[in-house]
Amino acid sequence: MKTAIGAKTMTMVQAITDALDTMLQEKEEVLLLGEDIGKNGGVFRATDGLQAKYGEGRVIDTPLSEAGFVGAGIGMAVNGFLPVIEIQFLGFIYPAYEQIMTHASRLRMRTMGHFTVPMVIRAPFGAGVRAPEIHCDSTEAIFTHMPGIKVVCPSSAYDAKGLLIAAIEDPDPVLFLEPMRCYRSAKEEVPEGKYSIEIGKGKKLMEGDDVTVITWGAMVPEVLAAAKQMTGKNIPCEVIDLRTLFPLDKDMIAESVQKTGRTVIVHEAHATGGVGNDVLAIINDTSFLYQKAPVERVTGFDAPVPYFGFEDHYLPTPARIQQAIEKVMKF
């Protein structure tokens, strides 16, 4: 749905602020909760200026207590509000894991729809910004494994705004992952006012016939860089930004891999148990006979995300991605 009129050039973090502003304006049930989100505007300034505009009653600095304010957010969501909670870094969400796993994601099921949790949890995530340890985790698969919560992960300003608005309007809990590396790395035109992007739909960023490269979050620019190189070498790549990690866009994946027959999946999270494996399962279920080569995965290693002195070695690079593309081509 689009009621937007003009457009502004902005970064992804500005687009997130704009989405929050739009929804605070639109619905009085929308409340922001989190640490340092008031005067400080959040550690990444995603809520900059919003407390001054909407007051302390709607942009609420909480005690430093992830389980406490996620739990309280559940109580508020059940009682008529639409809380949008900021976790400072995904690596600090773990105290709230129990509240999300045992309550937010299953209250609808437990009560057969009598109590529901229309709540959004926003969390910056990922490595590559020289952040201290634990500030760089990408553990999205912990949450995609959890029934009853959607997991969204935009990589651009336009998508971030439209998907965040969709997440706030979603009747179920949504974990909204914000790749820190994409916060200010690029600018693009973002419509003013309200528009939303359907959760569960990927986006084709490049069209090509030889190899499908599927990715999300901060790996999108890395994949695009690699894909452009390969296209220059006469290997035209199709690049898909999944944008939603649960539910995955099965149709877009199937359509593309049936066309190319060759797939590389790229994510910065650890390989074992990663969302890439669910993409592989979709390829297996829908497109087995179309495959010309085994699917390659380029991922973070099965080691804890290292201190930033090592992170460039941990994160997939265009060189590693190109190597994988060459491998599926040569099979």
Binding site: L31, G71, G75, M76, T102
Partner: protein, 356 residues
């Protein structure tokens, strides 16, 4: 610290009033309500254990001995207040108006049992320990933001106060002056671990000091003090003065659940002694006898009425349609995702359609 938090009681074990603070508010109607509900909850509890023994419901968590705490608090709530019970608080839930059939369905493995009657804000029983405490703080905070005079009550046991969610919930409610009553039933055992191994503090009420909220310690087997102190805490909450922590000292006579044997970890003669001395129903009965309110015929009628109501609920539970496998898939999201649609379709096809 125990001296700062003495156990407040209104009546002694012989049913004599020893604290006149709320005495003028006691009337025969109220007393009969308390008595009737305590009989009803106890009958339900015993019936449920017997149903479990016969394999007619699943594992069950009994509360016998804690009826005054559960009935006294539930009776103090207003119609529009919120209740956040644990798995041992269905005595409170049924007193507040939950459906007996649904409570039994819950214990028989059916999530239909978590649906409260229309208009009743009763949360499904908290299963992980203490996680309902932040929910109550949040729901209460929401009431405050809406500008209503509604409040919430969260139930939890002594072991729950060791969990982070207890502290995070109390802190949140204290910071935002959420209208919530944190009602602790200190039955002195968390499954097998006695309170002295659970905490170094001699009281639970003193934990309120850390959050600068009132903390009071009461006799959880004295329905009068439970009722009047809960009422007072609720009134305080409704006036915008924030949360209260109440520690009700009580005792469960039986097992943690039907899956354990308490004689393995404690001397059950303590339960026998407490039953004779401090039983919440006997104490109210003694008060009724002392004041001439006790009426054998009325009591008998109340017992028969409770038994009949519970038998009817059991019959309704047993006549309830069998589990519809479609329900596994239908309430995960408002709109099922493709995975859930596909899994439902394939499974229902495999078993030859939905519920027969």
């Amino acid at each position: 610290m125990e001296n700062h938090f003495p156990i407040r009681r209104m009546m002694d074990e012989n049913g004599n009033i020893i604290n006149s603070e709320y005495e003028e508010k006691i009337n025969e109607k109220l007393v009969k309500e308390f008595y009737r509900h305590m009989i009803r909850t106890r009958t339900f509890d015993r019936k449920s254990i017997s149903l479990q023994r016969q394999g007619r419901i699943g594992t069950y968590a009994p509360y016998e001995g804690q009826e005054a705490s559960q009935v006294g608090t539930a009776a103090a709530l207003g119609e529009s207040d919120w209740m956040f019970p644990t798995y041992r608080d269905h005595g409170a839930a049924m007193t507040f108006g939950h459906s007996l059939r649904n409570i039994l369905l819950f214990w028989n493995g059916r999530n239909e049992g978590c649906v409260p009657p229309e208009g009743k804000k009763i949360f499904p029983p908290g299963i992980p320990i203490a996680t309902q405490i932040p929910h109550a703080a949040g729901a209460a905070f929401a009431e405050r933001k809406k500008g209503t005079a509604n409040a919430a009550i969260a139930y939890f046991g002594d072991g729950a106060t060791s969990e982070g969610d207890f502290h995070e919930g109390l802190n949140f409610a204290s910071v935002f002056k959420a209208p919530v009553v944190f009602f602790n039933q200190n039955n002195q055992y968390a499954i097998s671990v006695p309170i002295e191994k659970q905490m170094k503090t001699k009281t639970i009420a003193q934990k309120a000091l850390a959050y600068d909220i009132p903390g009071i310690r009461i006799d959880g087997n004295d329905v009068f003090i439970v009722y009047f102190e809960t009422l007072k805490a609720l009134e305080r909450a409704r006036k915008g003065e924030g949360p209260t922590l109440i520690e009700a000292v009580t005792w469960r006579y039986g097992a943690h659940t039907t899956a354990d044997d308490p004689s393995k970890y404690r001397d059950q003669s303590e339960s026998t002694n407490r039953r004779q001395e401090y039983d919440p129903i006997l104490r109210l009965e003694r008060w009724m006898k002392n004041t001439g309110v006790f009426d054998e015929k009325w009591v008998q009628a109340a017992e028969e009425e409770a038994a009949a109501e519970i038998d009817e609920a059991v019959a309704e539970m047993e006549a309830f349609p069998p589990a519809d496998p479609a329900a596994i898939f239908d309430h995960v999201f408002a709109e099922p995702t493709w995975q859930i649609k596909q899994q439902k379709e394939e499974y229902l096809k495999l078993i030859g359609g939905g519920r027969k």
